[in-house]
């Protein structure tokens, strides 16, 4: 039988992989995809608790997370395109104009 713990462990593994991707990769688009992966890992834990407590609120929260993720994707990708237009690269190391 699949228990809540199964989902939580899987969610933790996926979240860790996404976080490792953020740290390791320098390509903005891949980092963006890792953020999406982390959001999905969190969604998985929400669904697991929703199932565990037999309550729909977790699934509603996942619904809102997905809407916010869609909005974030639109704005984030627009920012990546804008950055590429200015710097001719999507390497995050080139994004240093606010650094001092």
């Amino acid at each position: 039988m699949v228990t809540t713990t199964h989902y939580l462990v899987l969610g933790a593994i996926l979240f860790a992989i996404g976080m490792a991707g953020i740290v390791v990769r320098r390509n903005m688009i891949v980092m963006f995809m890792c953020i999406e992966l982390m959001l999905n890992a969190v969604n998985l834990t929400f669904i697991a608790f929703s199932r565990g407590f037999a309550h729909l609120d977790g699934q509603i929260t996942v619904f809102f997370v997905m809407t916010v993720a869609a909005a974030e994707a639109a704005v984030g990708l627009a920012m990546i395109v804008l950055f590429y237009r200015h710097k001719d690269t999507v390497n995050i190391d080139q994004a240093n104009i606010m650094k001092w």
Binding site: M1, V2, H6, Y7, L10, I13, L14, I17, G18, A20, G21, V24, R25, R26, N27, M28, I29, V30, F32, M33, C34, E36, L37, N40, N43, L44, I47, A48, S50, R51, G52, F53, A54, L56, D57, Q59, I60, V62, F63, F64, M66, T67, V68, A69, A70, A71, E72, A73, A74, V75, L77, A78, M79, I80, V81, L82, Y84, T89, V90, N91
Partner: protein, 165 residues
């Protein structure tokens, strides 16, 4: 049976998530992320969320990833990451794998019952009707605020990418 399906798709999700990080080219990462999202959708379905599973496939694996792939193809980013360069005979590996995965997806969605026994023994299922009831009664205000958020996101994306004359 339920446990086997869980382990199968959990393994697919973890392996494809690793590929997202490890592939050198962004387009391969995006394609493995789609596989990852689809297998997570199966887990959502199995955990009693058929509606959320459908939204996962449509919005995440569909809309968002199409947008990401569109951007990747538009700017074709070069990579300095010393990762897996992509297999040489990738189509011959990926085509059978995706055929198997698609068959399993259809099998799960068509034959497995969604919903799970909750702690008190009742069958719990978040289908479209019950989600809609909760969404339009208790969560009406957040739902409306979300529409404002999406409007702002649309305007922001348009203003950001507009070319100044």
């Amino acid at each position: 049976m339920e446990l086997y399906v869980f382990y199968l798709f959990a393994a697919v999700a973890v392996i494809s998530a690793l590929w997202v990080v490890l592939f050198k080219k962004a387009i391969y990462s995006a394609l493995s992320l789609i596989v990852c999202f689809c297998s997570i959708a199966v887990l959502f379905y199995q955990a009693g969320g058929p509606f959320i599973a459908a939204i996962q496939v449509i919005v995440y694996a569909g809309a968002i990833m199409v947008m990401v792939i569109f951007v990747i193809m538009m700017i074709s980013p070069e990579s300095t990451f010393p990762g897996a360069p992509g297999l040489k005979r990738l189509p011959f590996v990926v085509l059978p794998l995706s055929a198997v995965l698609a068959t399993m997806l259809v099998w799960v969605f068509a034959l497995m019952p969604s919903g799970a026994e909750s702690l008190d023994g009742t069958l719990f299922k978040g289908d479209a009707g019950s989600i809609a009831k909760a969404l339009f009664r208790e969560y009406l205000l957040p739902f409306e605020v979300t529409s404002i958020l999406i409007l702002v996101a649309i305007i922001g994306a348009v203003i950001l990418t507009r070319r100044e004359e």
